[in-house]
C-alpha cells in the first residue's frame, strides 16, 4: 500500500490530503472537507492535470510575444512537451483572444489559445 500526500487546490482552504493507493487504485482519501477535495485527491493521485500558460513568439505583433494558455488541463507530466511545442512555433498578427494557436496539443485533446487580442506592430 502506498500513501501519497497532497495539498488540495480545489478551493483556497488547502486541506492536507492523504491518498492511500493499492497499485493504480485509490483505496481511501483522508483529510478532505468536501466532495471537491475527494475528486481532486483521486485525480491528483492517479493522473495529475494542470493548466499551462506561456508565451509564443509573434514577430510582427504589437509585442514580440503573445500570451497563450491551454483551454483545459493536460497531464502534468507532459508539460515540458507542451512548452517545447509552444517554443518551436511562431504566429502571425493580428490575433484575437481565444484564437486557436495549436489545436489538440500533443494529442491531449486540449487546444492552446491566445489570451488576448494582439494587433500588428
Amino acid at each position: 500500500m502506498e500513501e501519497k500526500n497532497f495539498i488540495c487546490t480545489a478551493c483556497p482552504m488547502g486541506c492536507k490530503l492523504i491518498v492511500r493507493m493499492e497499485g493504480d487504485e485509490v483505496v481511501k482519501i483522508l483529510g478532505n472537507r468536501c466532495r471537491k477535495g475527494e475528486t481532486y485527491g483521486r485525480q491528483e493521485a492517479i493522473a495529475p492535470q494542470r493548466m499551462v500558460a506561456s508565451t509564443v513568439r509573434i514577430p510582427n505583433g504589437f509585442h514580440p510575444l503573445l500570451p497563450v494558455y491551454t483551454k483545459g488541463s493536460i497531464p502534468k507530466r507532459r508539460i515540458p512537451e507542451v512548452l517545447a511545442k509552444i517554443r518551436a512555433i511562431e504566429v502571425t498578427a493580428p490575433v484575437k483572444a481565444e484564437d486557436v494557436i495549436i489545436a489538440n496539443v500533443i494529442g491531449t485533446g486540449v487546444d492552446i489559445v491566445a489570451s488576448r487580442d494582439m494587433p500588428e506592430k
Binding site: 487546490t9 494542470r50 493548466m51 506561456s54 514580440p64 500570451p67 494558455y69 489570451s115 488576448r116
Partner: protein, 428 residues
C-alpha cells in the same frame, strides 16, 4: 481623438478597477467618460499576469489575466468610452482638475465632474535597503522581471533566488522554470506561506523548487552582478540564527515582499489615506473624503481576487456617474449676478435658481459712489425685471441689501443672469 476640456467622469488607470468603473459610469448615464492610462495599451497589470485564475466569479471561467482584461477592454470600446494611453497624470486638484502629460498630446489640463482613482499598487522594495553587501545588478522586484519575461521577451537571469513567498514570487518561480531558468530557492521570513497554497502546489511543489520558511537573506554577494546570496534562518523575532548560513549561487534575486497601494496622486488631491491600508478612507460608494473623487481596486487596499476588484470598480463607477450627473445638474442651475449701474460688487456671485424656491436669498452689495437722492435699486434678468426697491440715498460706506423672495423664483427661472442697477429716481 479630440480631447475635451471637461468630462463627466475621468478614470485614472485602465486596469480591472478602472475599466469596470468606466463601463459602469457610462452605463450609469455619464456621457463623456475618459480613461487615462500610463502604459501604451489598456489592461493594467493583468497584461503581464498570463497565468490562469481570473474570472471564476465574474465569468464562471478560469481565464488568464490578459483575457480577463480583454473582455473589459472590448466592452469599454464598444460603449464609446474615450481613452488616452501613454499618458501620465501629473497632478489632480481637489477641484477635480487634472494635469496630463503625454508625447502624442503634449501637456494638457482637463476638468472632471467626478474622478475615479484606479492606479493600483506598486511593489515593496525596502528589504533590499538593509541587506548588507554590494549593490550589484540582478536584484529586481518580481513584477519588473514579469514584465520583461512576459511582455518584452527577455530573461533577466538564468539562476534565481526569490525572497518572499507572495503570489507574484511563486508565479514567477514557475514562469522562469517554464522558460528554462533554474529557480534555486524561495525564502520566506514568516513561518507561514505568504500567498495562496494553490500556488505553492502548482508553482513550487510541482517543479521541485524548495521553499524555506523562517528564512531570509543575510548578504548579497557579487559586485557588478549578483553571484550568490547568503541565506540564513531566523527566529520568531526575525533575528538571524548563527550557524544556519548557506551560500546559494545564483545570478538574480527577485523580491516578492508585498504590495503598496499607489496613492501619490490621491494625496495631491487632498484625499486622506488610512495608514493601515495605505489607501484612501472610503465610504460604501468608494467615495473618498474629497467630494466627487472615488477610488477602486488595489489603490484602496490590496485585493486577492481580481473579480472583487471589478465589483469595486462597478460600485465606484456607478457612484461617480451619479455624482457627475448631480454636479452637472446643479451647475446648470446656477446663474451669475452682475454688478450693474453704480454697483461695485455683489455677493453672492452666483446663486442656485432652485434654492430660491426654498427661501429668501439676500443680495449684499456696495455702490461705487454716493447718491444723495432717492434711488431705485433694481434686480433684472436678461429680459425681465425681478424686483425694484427704493432708498433715500446710497453711500459706499454703507452696505446695501436686496432680498429676493420665493415668489420671485418663477421670474428668476426665466433668465440666465441677474443684474443689479442702482440709479437716481430722477434719471429713471
Amino acid at each position: 481623438m479630440s480631447i475635451k476640456k471637461q468630462y463627466d467622469v475621468v478614470v485614472i488607470g485602465a486596469g480591472p478597477g478602472g475599466l469596470a468603473a468606466a463601463i459602469e459610469a457610462k452605463k450609469g448615464g455619464a456621457d463623456d467618460v475618459l480613461v487615462i492610462e500610463r502604459d501604451v495599451e489598456l489592461g493594467g497589470i493583468l497584461l503581464q499576469c498570463i497565468h490562469n485564475g481570473f474570472g471564476l466569479q465574474t465569468f464562471k471561467e478560469d481565464l488568464p489575466g490578459p483575457e480577463y482584461a480583454q473582455r473589459y477592454i472590448n466592452e469599454a470600446k464598444s460603449l464609446g468610452i474615450s481613452f488616452l494611453m501613454d499618458t501620465m497624470v501629473m497632478d489632480v486638484t481637489s477641484q477635480r482638475k487634472l494635469y496630463l502629460s503625454s508625447k502624442d498630446h503634449g501637456y494638457l489640463e482637463v476638468e472632471a465632474h467626478a474622478i475615479v482613482l484606479a492606479m493600483g499598487c506598486r511593489e515593496r522594495t525596502r528589504p533590499q535597503v538593509r541587506i548588507p553587501g554590494y549593490r550589484p545588478n540582478g536584484v529586481f522586484t518580481a513584477g519588473t522581471a514579469q514584465r520583461w519575461v512576459n511582455v518584452e521577451g527577455y530573461m533577466p537571469g538564468n539562476r534565481f533566488v526569490i525572497l518572499g513567498s507572495g503570489d507574484i514570487g511563486m508565479i514567477m518561480a514557475r514562469r522562469l522554470t517554464f522558460e528554462g531558468a533554474k529557480v534555486e530557492r524561495v525564502l520566506e521570513i514568516q513561518s507561514f506561506l505568504s500567498g495562496l497554497s494553490r500556488n505553492y502546489v502548482q508553482c513550487l511543489d510541482d517543479w521541485g523548487i524548495p521553499l524555506q520558511l523562517r528564512h531570509t537573506i543575510k548578504k548579497i554577494i557579487g559586485k557588478n552582478r549578483v553571484e550568490a546570496i547568503e541565506a540564513v534562518a531566523v527566529d520568531e523575532k526575525w533575528n538571524f540564527i548563527p550557524g544556519t548560513e548557506e551560500i546559494i549561487p545564483c545570478d538574480t534575486l527577485l523580491l516578492s515582499v508585498g504590495l503598496i497601494p499607489e496613492n501619490e496622486l490621491s494625496k495631491k488631491a487632498g484625499v486622506k489615506l488610512d495608514p493601515i491600508t495605505g489607501g484612501p478612507y472610503v465610504d460604501e460608494h468608494f467615495q473618498t473624503n474629497v467630494p466627487g473623487i472615488f477610488a477602486a481596486g488595489n489603490v484602496v487596499h490590496v485585493y486577492d481576487l481580481v473579480d472583487y476588484v471589478s465589483l469595486a470598480g462597478v460600485e465606484a463607477g456607478k457612484s461617480a456617474a451619479e455624482f457627475a450627473l448631480a454636479e452637472k445638474e446643479r451647475a446648470a442651475r446656477y446663474i451669475p449676478l452682475k454688478a450693474g449701474k453704480n454697483v461695485r460688487y455683489i455677493v453672492p456671485h452666483k446663486l442656485d435658481k432652485k434654492a430660491l424656491e426654498q427661501g429668501d436669498i439676500s443680495l449684499q452689495m456696495r455702490v461705487t459712489q454716493p447718491i444723495e437722492e432717492d434711488v431705485w435699486m433694481e434686480v433684472r434678468g436678461e429680459n425681465n425685471s425681478i424686483v425694484r426697491r427704493s432708498e433715500r440715498y446710497v453711500r459706499p460706506g454703507e452696505m446695501v441689501t436686496i432680498v429676493l423672495k420665493p415668489n420671485m423664483a418663477a421670474e428668476v427661472e426665466k433668465t440666465g443672469m441677474l443684474t443689479v442697477d442702482i440709479y437716481p429716481k430722477s434719471e429713471a
